[in-house]
């Protein structure tokens, strides 16, 4: 096991100048980074053919640490850059990593349209229910009643369920995991990357600094314990009532469907156009 960790570190992390990383000790982002690397390693993907694009935020800092083709784009826009990359070179494996604010507030429109369009991209969304990088302002996933830097009296808006939103918007593969359920996370990310079509992996994570502290949720371990206690599998959730599911985290694969592949459709159009001209 330690040798494997050594090998993964050696093979996938950038060694020049990048560490120590910018994240707070105990932040869930590091766990996601580990899961992403293990997933990619398990699929034996070529690093040259991998593109990891992010937006802006704590989650958005991830690409700089890994030895792929990496892109740190603008806040909310990772999927738009990824769309251009994938269309220009469909042989690339294009992944994005985004925060909840990044993906569903400023980037919300791009997110639903990417899901609808069903281009073969993988979107990893680290949902820590808050704007971490800018200091704990509420995000579209901050729960009703929570405290935030911009919700001193308790939040009066209602949260998005990102995975369910992705299903409705038309994504081919949608899963939810948490930073507590790590082996499952490795598997979900690998499945998402392998899937032809738009895949979303929502990952419930802890921002104990900007969210947990304000809401008296304890240290990272306590917060992760909370994810463990609240989690129910998709299969189990199907047997529970809405009241029973209140405040639970449904984990596993929410949807996995096959739809016409965008780049293949595009090729068909090119063939028709060539015949006509």
């Amino acid at each position: 096991m330690p040798e494997k960790v050594e090998r993964l570190r050696h093979d996938y992390l950038r060694h020049d100048k990048k560490f120590p990383h910018v994240w707070c000790p105990g932040c869930g982002n590091g766990i996601v980074l580990g899961a992403l690397i293990r997933a990619i390693d398990s699929l034996k993907l070529e690093k040259d053919e991998l593109v990891l694009a992010s937006g802006i935020g704590c989650a958005g800092r991830m690409p700089v640490y890994v030895d792929f083709n990496t892109l740190h784009t603008t806040h909310g826009r990772a999927l738009t850059f990824a769309t251009g990359i994938k269309l220009a070179n469909p042989s690339l494996n294009v992944l994005t990593v985004m925060g909840d604010g990044d993906a569903t507030a400023i980037g919300g429109n791009h997110f639903i349209h990417a899901a609808r369009r069903n281009l073969d991209l993988t979107a990893i969304i680290i949902n820590n229910q808050i704007y971490g990088m800018t200091g704990g302002q509420y995000s579209p996933t901050t729960p009703y009643g929570s405290k935030a830097a911009t919700a001193a009296y308790g939040h009066i808006e209602h949260a998005f369920s990102i995975a369910e939103l992705a299903v409705t918007a038309g994504a081919s593969f949608v899963a939810r995991g948490t930073v507590y359920h790590v082996p499952l996370l490795d598997k979900l990310i690998a499945q998402g990357i392998s899937k032809k079509g738009f895949s979303v992996i929502e990952i419930i994570s802890n921002c104990h600094i900007q969210y947990g502290r304000r809401n008296k949720m304890g240290d990272p371990v306590t917060m992760m314990q909370g994810f463990k206690d609240r989690a129910v599998t998709v299969e189990k959730a199907a047997t529970l009532s809405a009241e029973e599911l209140h405040d639970r985290i449904t984990i596993g694969v929410l949807t996995d469907v096959d739809k016409p592949n965008y780049t293949e459709e595009l090729q068909k159009i090119r063939d028709i156009a060539k015949d006509k001209s």
């Binding site: 950038r14 020049d16 100048k17 990048k18 690093k47 040259d48 053919e49 593109v51 694009a53 690409p63 700089v64 030895d67 792929f68 083709n69 990496t70 892109l71 740190h72 784009t73 603008t74 826009r77 999927l79 738009t80 850059f81 990824a82 769309t83 251009g84 990359i85 994938k86 269309l87 220009a88 070179n89 042989s91 690339l92 429109n109 791009h110 349209h113 595009l266 159009i269 090119r270 028709i272 156009a273 060539k274 006509k276 001209s277």
Partner: protein
């Protein structure tokens, strides 16, 4: 393929599409807006046949993002819009400046601000094209005044963008973009097409933002084996974020130096009847069409008038403007805005007499207006 130029009757927007395709553009992302939509529509027809990609994105922010992504993956890319969409593109346009991603953006100007006067002609976006995105940054802005320009200047735009790794803005306006004229399109083999310089060193030696005499680093393409990091943060020569003052300073200054180094090639103007001119019109875009009629009419009345048509608006072609200011007793700058370029002209030589015509009522500046002003100068 013919060796001959082919004669066609085209609309300005159509000629932009032909120019882009001739320059090797194979990716277009955009969002519909009058008076630019014909560019997207024609691209959706033509690109697939050329093996390229057209995509209509959910908005102009996304369009600009996709254009940058496609260019990073090695495909020459274009988007086209008008004022409201151009405003939305500004943040990602800044990203293209900082990450030095070649791309071309057409803004068919309409009267603003905001939704403004759809879709009356105007030239109100000149300064936005130069300074619309935040922070100091290099950018090239070109303008077109005839359908034939639309073809030629679009080819130039791609070439400059590839050569200097900088976004190039083409400012058209409603009049130029919707005018139909006969044009001669050169045979493909007669068109000079420039490609970005790719790295030639082995990947482990590649330093993505390494300076050189031109100030333009060799550009790897995503997936070609030169794995590196691309960011909108100010970065060191390896592409990684830095806040060390000496690295930040070197980065920022190289951005300006690469444009200054290429200034003579980038600054493009056309002179008409300037040899013996005593008064001159300095104009760009559709207004220079009126100006050409006006100087001819003025000459018939014995006024020695000439025209300097600006193609490059930024970097401002001061080395071509300065001799005109020295030669003529007065210069007229007619614009469909409150004086965005006349201010630049005045800055070239503060002692020159610069007269303006400014129209902001959504109406085109006519030859007669320019003619009358010329006779009074």
């Amino acid at each position: 393929m013919t060796e001959q130029a082919t004669r066609q009757v085209l609309q300005g927007n159509e000629a932009i599409v032909e120019g882009a395709l001739a320059a090797g553009c194979r990716f277009f992302a955009g969002y519909p807006i009058t008076p630019a939509s014909e560019i997207a529509e024609l691209m959706s027809l033509r690109l697939p046949a050329a093996g390229g990609t057209f995509i209509q994105m959910e908005d102009e922010i996304a369009s600009m993002g996709a254009v940058i992504g496609a260019s990073l993956a090695g495909v020459k890319s274009l988007t086209a819009t008008s004022g409201p969409g151009f405003s939305l593109m500004q943040e990602n346009l800044g990203y293209a400046c900082v990450a030095e991603v070649p791309c071309v953006v057409v803004n068919v100007m309409r009267a603003g601000p905001s939704t403004g006067l759809p879709t009356s002609p105007a030239q109100g976006d000149v300064m936005q094209a130069r300074w619309g995105t935040h922070g100091d940054h290099p950018i090239i802005v070109l303008s077109v005044s005839t359908v034939s320009d639309c073809f030629d200047i679009t080819v130039h735009a791609f070439n400059l963008s590839e050569k200097y790794r900088v976004p190039v803005i083409i400012l058209s306006d409603e009049v130029v973009s919707h005018t139909r004229e006969a044009v001669f399109l050169p045979a493909p083999e007669k068109i000079e097409v420039v490609e970005r310089i790719r790295p030639s060193v082995p990947p482990e030696w590649y330093i993505p933002y390494e300076d050189n005499s031109r100030g333009v680093p060799a550009m790897a393409v995503l997936g070609d084996g030169y794995r590196h990091h691309v960011t909108g943060l100010i970065h060191d020569n390896k592409g990684f974020p830095t806040d060390r003052p000496e690295e930040v300073n070197a980065f920022q200054r190289r951005q300006f130096r690469k444009i200054t180094n290429g200034f003579y090639e980038i600054q493009m103007t056309k002179s008409f009847m300037m040899e013996d001119a005593e008064v001159a019109v300095i104009a760009y875009g559709s207004v220079s069409r009126s100006a050409l009629h006006a100087i001819k009419a003025a000459r018939e009345k014995g006024v020695k008038a000439g025209l300097l048509q600006l193609i490059t608006l930024f970097p401002f072609p001061k080395r071509n403007v300065d001799p005109v200011l020295r030669q003529c007793r007065a210069v007229l700058v007619p614009e469909m805005n409150m004086g965005q370029i006349s201010r630049e002209v005045k800055r070239v030589n503060l002692s020159s007499k610069v007269v303006t015509i400014n129209r902001v009522d959504g109406q085109f500046i006519t030859p007669t207006e320019i003619y009358n002003k010329l006779l009074s100068m």
